[in-house]
């Protein structure tokens, strides 16, 4: 029982980090419908910059702000210099593909730049609220773990508030629906797009800052996490901001429990197979039931357009 409780906590920590990264992907996706594959590098750079600045002895809050600002700038740079110049040629399938490749390339540039700046150094990132732990009977949980879970919940609430309680959030949803119709309302969608990438960058950098104290930071951190973050986003449904949460929890639970109870070595393999199945499930469920049953997580395009 106690073991299971510990496993659940570690699943939730994993799930929180996937959800954070996934929300970052989704925000960047939420206007131009392009997956920003450089999000993993934003995560890594956010963590590295935070750890480096914190290492100089300045107050942690200052380091935090520096890391987050770096995330915001990187998000903006990728939107302005990589994605938008390509998407300006039109919202075609080919251009979306090209833009996606562009973000892959931008990610490599960022990794290489980080390699030159930090080398193979491993940085221990400071935990924001210290490294103590909370004991409840024989149940022990690290404060850094709680920070990740709490941070994720806070970020999700913040993103929800931005999207559903602010003008700019409404405009982001409008751009997602149709950029040209949004422009016809007198709204400059480029500004809106940039904001979505900035917020996406901030959330992703924050994810790096929150999660990295659990391990250590190198220029290759975040790679695995960003892959699982994308997968969680895809399983939850791209463009469906909250679908990522249950998907992230499912992936986290499967990883912790499979590696404890079944196989440590092949836990990843099991996760990947599970994700693969989840990705192809929507099509097969509706196909095998003759369209009678629609996968509940799939967005249905409004038939009203007809």
């Amino acid at each position: 029982m106690l073991t299971n409780l510990h496993l659940i906590v570690s699943s939730l920590v994993l799930a929180s980090s996937y959800a954070l990264v996934g929300i970052g992907y989704n925000l960047a996706y939420s206007t131009l419908r392009v997956i920003n594959f450089a999000q993993g590098q934003i995560y890594m750079l956010g963590a590295l910059i935070f750890a480096t600045v914190a290492g100089t002895g300045v107050p942690l809050i200052l380091a935090l702000l520096t890391g987050v600002a770096a995330g915001a700038l990187l998000g903006m740079a990728i939107e302005r210099f990589v994605i938008t110049p390509i998407m300006r040629r039109g919202f075609s399938h080919g251009n979306t593909q090209a833009a996606l490749l562009g973000t892959v390339a931008a990610g490599i540039v960022l990794t290489e730049v980080a390699n030159r700046a930090w080398g193979t150094k491993e940085l221990g990132a400071a935990a924001l609220f210290g490294s103590g732990s909370v004991h409840i009977g024989s149940f022990v949980v690290g404060i850094d773990s709680l920070t990740v879970i709490g941070g994720a919940v806070l970020c999700l609430v913040a993103v929800w508030a931005i999207l559903y309680k602010t003008s700019v959030g409404l405009q982001m949803r409008a751009v997602f629906a149709d950029p040209s119709v949004t422009m016809l309302q007198g709204i400059n969608f480029r500004t809106v797009t940039t904001i979505s990438f900035v917020v996406g960058g901030v959330i992703t950098a924050l994810a790096g800052i929150l999660v990295s104290p659990l391990t250590s930071v190198t220029t290759s951190s975040g790679l695995q996490l960003s892959i699982l973050g994308i997968l969680a986003t895809l399983v939850g449904g791209l463009g469906r901001m909250w679908g990522v949460v249950p998907a992230a929890i499912a992936i986290g639970l499967s990883q912790s429990f499979v590696s404890y109870y079944i196989t440590n070595q092949y836990a990843d393999l099991v996760t990947y197979v599970g994700i693969f199945v989840a990705l192809i499930a929507p099509y097969w469920v509706s196909k095998l039931t003759g369209g009678a049953l629609k996968w509940p997580l799939r967005r249905q395009r409004a038939a009203a357009a007809a």
Partner: protein, 248 residues
């Protein structure tokens, strides 16, 4: 009266394909103009060019004395030109209120209280929209969608309103209502440009009629002049009277 909108020698289209050739027209304050012509004649392209969705390849578009050709559409809209697109082009997954809020973003930015007043006025004008304010746009009936599309534009008080096929897919009684509304707007002094494939509904509310055929303006006449030679013109826009008479 001075021309507020002046289109001079505009060629425009998509990619290398020119759809509109050498179009010139003017629209004055308080004037209503109908643009009619068969499918593919370039009517929608003319509207899209005026409001900046399509960039003119040639020629100038001026609005209140300033050139707006080639500017991004959000700037043109901010200067008081608005377009209700063909097929309504609502944000289908957003609610009525959210659609209106996006339409009124320019007003809201300047003056929230004024926005609130405009919203109330829209709801007075279209009471069904008030009832359905929390409903998604995609779940409205065709007529309600058209009303929402018009309300979303009216809320920001445009000086020039362009409507692309406002009667598309609507029942006759709804079309009648829409045109009553358009007549009211005209009497309030708003400049109007209305695109319809056929003249039947639009004739009663406009001052001038422009006929487009295969990308060119083939007629630009006052309503009275148009009525005189309507037989000829109608045969044209219905698709080639000459050809018909020789075969039939």
């Amino acid at each position: 009266m001075s021309a507020v909108l002046e289109v001079t020698g505009v060629h425009s289209g998509y990619g290398q394909q020119l759809v509109l050739r050498d179009a010139s027209m003017r629209c004055e304050t308080g004037q209503a103009i109908a643009i009619i012509g068969p499918n593919g004649a370039g009517k929608s392209t003319l509207l899209k060019t005026i409001c900046g969705i399509v960039k003119p390849a040639h020629g100038t578009v001026t609005w209140q004395g300033r050139s707006i050709g080639g500017q991004p559409s959000y700037r043109i809209v901010a200067r008081g030109i608005s377009l209700v697109q063909e097929g309504r082009a609502l944000f289908w997954n957003l609610t009525v209120l959210e659609n209106l809020r996006l339409g009124g973003e320019l007003v809201h930015r300047r003056d929230r209280a004024h926005y609130a007043r405009r919203l109330e006025e829209m709801f007075e004008l279209f009471p069904t929209l008030a009832e359905r304010r929390h409903q998604r746009a995609g779940t409205l009936s065709g007529g309600e969608q058209q009303m929402l599309a018009i309300a979303r534009v009216l809320i920001r008080e445009p000086q020039l309103l362009m409507l692309d096929e406002p009667s598309l897919g609507l029942a006759p009684i709804v079309i009648e209502r829409i045109y009553q509304l358009i007549a009211t707007l005209k009497s309030s002094g708003m400049a109007l440009i209305i695109v319809e494939p056929q003249p039947q509904h639009v004739m009663n509310v406009v001052d001038r009629v422009i006929v487009l055929d295969r990308g060119r303006i083939v007629e630009n006449a006052s309503r009275a002049e148009f009525a005189k030679q309507a037989d000829d013109l109608i045969a044209t826009y219905l698709g080639g009277k000459r050809q018909h008479s020789t075969v039939g």
